[in-house]
Symmetry: C2
Subunit: 283 residues, 2 copies
């Protein structure tokens, strides 16, 4: 069986694969390979990679297309995100030079589910530093086989994802919304122990409660109500550690009903306040 | 109910708690709190923290004790690792100054299971830079509530664990063994496509096959046999991508039996060679 000539002949090409087993799989996220090439125009063909990848265009123009986004023109210094199940084609107008990092594992899917990687925003601007640094650090690590290298490769990809997420968020039309959400977080941080409704809060930002809740959740990963509970219980932990009584603490963080406070504290921390103070002391 | 006076009064104390919810829990590892204090000698008391912690001694001498390790004297510039279920006591001779980072989540337990954190080596030398940097970066991040901060906090802890692991490994009597294992990895990298037994290999390092397997697994997270398979399949991927036939590839990486190669390739990558080449091409 001859399977050569399926792919176009590149001008040059360098690629290094890994085949993760055991510890590298158990850690939840691994680098499958890194590579780079310079190649000429080819016939566009939709492919399903089955893994996550970031492809960075060092030089050249081209086109990206997928059923989720349609056709998007590509310019140098853009990174393309590829998703495991999305048929994608991308190709140079005449010739280009690219680098890529491919990763996989259950944690990679979790990152997508939590909104760090978005199928509808696969093109990321100004990502040279993030991709270059990750690519360079991985180059020397790809052939290292000890447990420290396994964790380091994972950390490099997580940091790459975080930086691509920050850059992609900065460029979206949500820029203004992000500022509003920072304001909302600051407001809640000052007022978490007072009584107010989400409707009042939404009104401050001239939007509906539904819209406010959705935007807040996309920004923080929590509903406004959950966020308030989180602030209240965090503050309660500090007060309890300082020696305040349960009753005092409950009132200071905004719970008039001590029994309700006890229930919420237990549910979010797994401990009663008394057991918490006994167990949690560090010095 | 008054729960003050359970803990000794510190000279000074600063601690900041978080209460993770939703996205922060779903991401698998979160920072519960960071803190620092200067405190006087107290009555030693075994506690079960229920979380992971690194406590760094900036100044002062003291004692650490747990059922796993017995009593260990503590000196400045040491970090102490605390494990969720291990009753532990640690305390200054007269007075000391410490900083701590507390984390939790399923990924934290995975890191322990994979050998990155070891209950029998809870004291880590020369860890100033690792703990200081993590503590400092977390200080400004503890009150940030957006999704990027959630991922950054996780990444900081993963990087801290990796650095503590490297330092703790360097100090163990396994130092010589690590060098031997690096040598073994290098040997396998050169000889992965040849036929040899693990017994021959163990003989080179003047130890029994059982001992060799155990040490190799602790160092790489894989058995020697799995490691060889991983190298063979990684090399096979590169050869297939270069256009080599399946038969040529199988022989070049050390499989005389093409059907057996096909089976191993499918099992470790999830794809047949043909589908792999179709799907995997990046450019």
């Amino acid at each position: 069986m001859d399977i050569s000539n399926i792919n176009p002949k590149p001008v040059y090409r360098e690629e290094r694969f890994r085949t993760p087993m055991n510890a590298e799989r158990d850690i939840g996220l691994w680098v499958d390979r890194i590579g780079q090439n310079k190649c000429r125009s080819e016939i566009p063909r939709l492919r399903v990679l089955g893994q996550y990848a970031a492809v960075y265009i060092d030089e050249g123009e081209g086109t990206f297309t997928s059923p989720v986004t349609g056709r998007i023109p590509l310019h140098p210094c853009r990174a393309i995100l590829l998703f495991p199940e999305i048929p994608t084609a991308y190709y140079p107008k005449t010739e280009w030079q690219t680098r890529w990092i491919v990763w996989n594992g259950p944690d990679a899917f979790t990152l997508e589910r939590l909104g760090y990687l978005r199928q509808d925003s696969p093109i990321i601007h100004d990502s040279l530093q993030a991709v270059s640094q990750a690519h360079k650090r991985l180059e020397s690590l790809m052939t290292q086989e000890d447990l420290a290298a396994v964790l380091e490769r994972k950390n490099i990809v997580l940091e790459l994802v975080r930086r691509l997420f920050l850059m992609s968020r900065g460029k979206q039309q949500t820029g203004v919304l992000n500022e509003q959400m920072e304001e909302a977080v600051e407001f809640l941080r000052r007022s978490f122990n007072k009584e107010f409704s989400i409707e009042d809060l939404a009104h401050r930002f001239a939007c509906s409660a539904t819209h406010f809740r959705r935007t807040f959740h996309a920004y923080t990963g929590r509903s406004p109500r959950e966020f308030i509970t989180s602030l209240r219980i965090s503050q309660a932990k500090e007060l309890l550690m300082q020696g305040k009584s349960i009753k005092q603490t409950a009132q200071l963080v905004g719970y008039q009903d001590v029994l309700y406070f006890l229930r919420v504290f237990k549910k979010t921390t797994g401990f009663s306040p008394k057991r918490f103070v006994h167990a949690a002391h560090l010095h």
